[in-house]
């Protein structure tokens, strides 16, 4: 907790009778990319908006870079940058105008270089409504980082982006991280969360279901490792020899597929069996459970045990 730049302690948010977030606690270290995951209505947006100073907590405490977002909104605005999921800009504003406008309120020089970096140099004078969804998101990101914030909140940053832009955005996130920027990444894209996040928190039913590195989270599940094997003579399909630690086995498209609880003994036994049968290995793939698998496992388990989400 010593280098924690974000501290969330027993945070609670209610709207009338509806409990949106029910006492969650976590911290984010300086320079981390921290994924915030959860199904719709789990409490992600309420948590983010409270950290961004848009809403006030109904219980618990929040701190962003040592600042209480509710009590010191003036200080907070220069410390954080936010790329909102919604447009958040007037439809007739141009990229140049938006850059001047927002930088003026942050009391910094306009960063037109960011518009070029994000591929918007030819659209600087186009009105916001004339930009594609991807271009709108890139403009929103450029504005969010123009004042060099310590903490950057990204809400579904790559939704609607093409592959090249998505890769460019991920590179930019890594650059910002290397400069010490802490990034809070709220996304439904599990592959993105797994690839980009140092740690992730999964919110479910308004509570924190789990928090840890993607590796830690995937490792704690019942997740079985998928081993797919293809041989020259397809001899494994006919084999009845037991392969250790295999929970389930099936044949599909010339592949013998096994779900293993212990990958080492399984792979060793498969290779030995292929050699014993005088066959030749053509392809062997080992796929560990993904964050998405684990996410689905957690959400299905919790929903089953609590009677469903909100």
């Amino acid at each position: 907790m010593q280098d924690a730049i974000i501290k969330v302690n027993d945070f609670r948010k209610v709207y009338g009778d509806f409990v949106a977030v029910d006492g969650i606690s976590f911290s984010v270290q300086k320079g981390e990319i921290f994924g915030l995951l959860g199904p719709n209505g789990a409490g992600k947006t309420s948590t983010l908006e409270s950290l961004e100073g848009i809403r006030s907590p109904d219980g618990g405490t929040l701190q962003v870079a040592g600042i209480d977002p509710t009590r010191e909104p003036g200080k907070l605005r220069n410390v954080i940058g936010v790329q909102l999921q919604s447009a958040g800009l007037p439809e007739s504003i141009t990229g140049d105008e938006a850059m001047k406008f927002f930088c003026a309120y942050h009391d910094v020089q306009p960063r037109f270089d960011l518009l070029e970096r994000l591929g918007l140099s030819e659209k600087r004078n186009a009105q916001f409504y004339e930009l594609s969804t991807g271009q709108q998101r890139r403009l929103s990101l450029a504005l969010a980082i123009a004042h060099d914030p310590q903490v950057l909140f990204l809400d579904e940053p790559t939704a609607g982006l093409d592959v090249a832009t998505r890769v460019e955005l991920h590179e930019l996130m890594r650059e910002l991280q290397a400069k010490g920027t802490t990034i809070i990444l709220a996304t439904h894209d599990m592959a993105e969360a797994e690839e980009m996040s140092d740690r992730v928190a999964i919110l479910l039913n308004h509570k924190l279901a789990t928090v840890g590195t993607p590796m830690e989270i995937t490792a704690t599940g019942a997740g079985l490792t998928k081993v797919s094997v293809r041989t020259k003579n397809a001899s494994l399909g006919a084999s009845t020899a037991p392969i250790p630690a295999v929970a389930q086995r099936l044949s599909m498209d010339e592949y013998e597929i096994m779900y293993s609880t212990d990958i080492g003994p399984t792979v060793s036994a498969v290779i030995a069996e292929i050699e014993a049968r005088g066959d030749t290995l053509i392809d062997l793939r080992v796929e560990r459970p993904s964050l998405e698998d684990r996410f689905l496992e957690i959400t299905n388990h919790k929903n089953g045990s609590t009677g469903g989400t909100q």
Partner: protein
């Protein structure tokens, strides 16, 4: 200050760039002025006497009531205010800048009407220019404030149109633009005094155009300014950053308090 000027500059350009605002700020008022000049003067020659202030008042009503509230409601509903809040843009700026830029557009339109009306239709010019500008400024400020208040309390675009029309249509009919205020039945005249346009028409006639007043002209200006100040103050107080804000200060019915000076005006003017 740089931030405020940047914001002002962008909003002013939006008033020309945005087709809906261009229509309400310029095309509709100037088009209506020309149409009334070419048609109404032939039907009712007396209209010429009050044509210049009447058409300026019409321009103010169109640009403010039909131009200010809807963009504010849309901006709130589309999360633009949330984005402004995150970036430290004060709520007062969000409210005052559209009001000020609309007033600047109106100054241009009012100048066009005031210069063109005598040249094209032989309408009388103001005899007291200072008072003419003063009454125009008071009306523009008050209507801009009321329009901002409508934008703040209106939950959506449909209701915004309804609220705006509550002022717009009666103002056109009863404020003295189409026919003299003195022709109204007494009870209707009292109701008409609740409308800022009626007070402005009375003040224009007496203080700027050299005509007779229907009721106290300087009192009308004071009531106008008090109503405008109350409307803007209430707009700031009732302002909400987004529609999901469950902690709005005060009830929206408080907005009706801005009518208080006008109600008092019925009895004291």
């Amino acid at each position: 200050m740089t931030a405020f000027l940047n914001h002002f500059s962008f909003e002013f350009r939006t008033g020309i760039r945005n087709k809906q605002l261009l229509l309400m700020n310029y095309l509709f008022p100037i088009g209506f002025f020309l149409m009334m000049g070419f048609i109404m003067v032939g039907i009712n020659p007396l209209f010429l006497e009050t044509m210049t202030p009447g058409m300026v008042i019409f321009a103010v009503l169109a640009a403010t009531l039909l131009g200010i509230p809807d963009p504010l409601v849309n901006a709130r509903e589309n999360g633009i205010f949330r984005s402004y809040k995150i970036n430290g843009i004060p709520s007062v700026s969000i409210l005052i800048i559209p009001a000020l830029t609309t007033m600047l557009h109106l100054l241009i339109v009012a100048a066009i009407i005031t210069i063109v009306a005598p040249l094209l239709f032989d309408a009388p010019s103001p005899v007291n220019w200072l008072n003419y500008i003063l009454v125009f400024a008071a009306l523009a400020f008050t209507m801009a404030s009321i329009s901002v208040l409508i934008g703040v309390v209106s939950p959506n675009s449909r209701v915004t149109v309804l609220y705006s029309q509550v002022f717009f249509i009666p103002s056109i009919m009863l404020a003295g633009m189409m026919f003299p205020f003195s022709m109204l039945p007494e009870a209707v005249g009292k109701v008409a005094q609740l409308l800022p346009a009626t007070l402005a028409m009375n003040a224009f006639n007496a203080l700027a155009m050299g005509n007779a007043a229907d009721f106290a002209p300087w009192g009308s200006v004071i009531i106008l300014l008090l109503g405008g100040l109350m409307a803007f103050g209430l707009a700031v107080y009732l302002f909400s950053w987004d529609s999901r804000n469950f902690t709005r200060r005060g009830h929206i019915l408080l907005a009706l308090l801005f009518l208080l000076p006008f109600v008092i005006g019925i009895f004291v003017l």
